[in-house]
Symmetry: C2
Subunit: 260 residues, 2 copies
DNA sequence: GCGTGTGAAACGATTCACAGCA
DNA sequence: TGCTGTGAATCGTTTCACACGC
């Protein structure tokens, strides 16, 4: 019987933890540990806005102002921040620099994370040059692909390595975070090799479900899926059915609303 | 006073509806209308797997099998599907073709959605050629960018148009879905123009918060943010405190777990 | 028997509302 | 006075458990 594994799926779900087996991490004393996932997903947004504010010279923000800027409710922002401790001043607001520091610490902004990208197709190539990675402390240290036409070529000063050498590359660069931009069929096999080599976080752009051991965190980003969700909402907007819309016979009358 | 607007934020939240004003949609009788957002986010995944199954010749799936394949609990899958009606057979499972059809209808898979991409940088270029779009019914009908070096060039047979002509392009192509891959600073201005021109769904790759009228649905995908969330989890893994984190020499014995 | 469909319970996340402190 | 920090209320989602029909 194989050890505990989880399937990682939706674009908002990272999978880790929870092994029914031993583990039972010892509620470590130091920094307050795990925040609610929903909060974790928002912290980067707050952090980005704080960086922006501090660059503009703002020294203090109220929860109201910051919340407005990032598009959440003020109460939610306060609750989120309260999970990390009390870094605000009543009647005043939050010290931007302080909050920035605390938040950055929580998110590991100080670290320089080496990242390996596997699959240098359309998307992988774009990710290799994406400035949003490097600007947030992620260094692309290797590009990996099986295509002989690509191997040896450089993107942004990084040479593309043969997929056959994946193990070597991961070991050499000591990367624990990997980005998967391979075709769906290849994704699981690559993931297995990455994980075996010590990678514990995977950002998966392939449209397939990965099965990984519990200790590995996977986040899936499926661009096609995102558009499909938009299409879903499109379908039930404007009353004009797009013609070719076979269903939708009657009632899409927006607000049918004779009340009561 | 401008009409109701919402800020759209996290990668899992689409914003629409909810206007505190009138609306109050009348619980329309016909086809079961809006599904819970969490369900909507999963339907594309189910659909993809069903397509796969049907291509393999499978004719029936149980909730258990399908759930396993897409990485959710069987109960969740059944509840999700139950929102669209009863398309399964008790004691047997779901007819793949039928379910595929129903689900496809719900997600508008029959439609051919024209899509405009604004911002042909690294990412925009990749998205322009991304097969995951076209294969799911989304046709890239225009690429728009202000860079004179790009205007007139072609990607995948589509010519890049001047951002100045955005309105013309949207009008001509009748696109209601747009993809934003501009720098963060430009995103809001472009979004405003898109919305004014009749676009009602935006997939936003820019790392900034968009403010749009209520009727417009926005989904944000922030790739840097995704990595940051992974980094957060990385930070609280392996007990070895970081120290530039080479850890992993020892314990990666796949199943650390001497059971019990 | 077996697997769907579904109410009910459990859980988590968001919102409200207010006490407490600068 | 004003804004934070937080219990309590609300809302949505997931999970459980079982009745129903093939």
């Amino acid at each position: 019987m194989p050890p505990t594994e989880t399937r990682a799926s939706s674009s908002s779900a990272g999978a880790t933890s929870a092994g029914p087996s031993g583990a039972r991490a010892a509620e470590t004393v130091s920094g307050g540990s795990d925040l609610p996932p929903a909060t974790v997903a928002r912290l980067p947004v707050y952090l980005r806005e704080l960086n922006l504010l501090s660059r503009t010279g703002v020294e203090v923000v109220s929860s109201g102002a910051l919340a407005e800027a990032v598009g959440v409710g003020p109460a939610q922002l306060r609750k989120d921040l309260s999970h990390l401790g009390s870094y605000g001043t009543r009647g005043v607001g939050y010290d931007v620099a302080l909050l920035q520091a605390q938040l950055g610490r929580e998110m590991g902004s100080a670290h320089e994370w080496p990242v390996v990208i596997v699959g240098i197709g359309n998307l992988g190539r774009a990710l290799a040059g994406y400035s949003g990675f490097s600007s947030r402390g992620f260094h692309i240290v290797a590009l990996v692909d099986p295509n002989p036409d690509l191997i040896g070529r450089e993107i942004n000063g990084i040479e593309i390595t043969d997929l056959a050498d994946l193990e070597v590359v991961v070991a050499r660069t000591k990367a624990v975070i990997a980005v998967l931009a391979t075709p769906a069929e290849a994704a699981q096999a690559v993931a297995d090799r990455l994980v075996y080599q010590g990678v514990t976080s995977i950002l998966n752009f392939a449209a397939s479900v990965l099965t990984v051991p519990d200790r590995v965190t996977v986040r899936k980003v499926d661009l096609g899926q995102e558009l499909q969700i938009l299409a879903y909402h499109e379908l039930r907007k404007g009353d004009d059915p797009v013609l070719a819309g076979p269903l939708t016979d009657a009632a899409l009358v927006r607000s049918a609303g004779g009340d009561s």
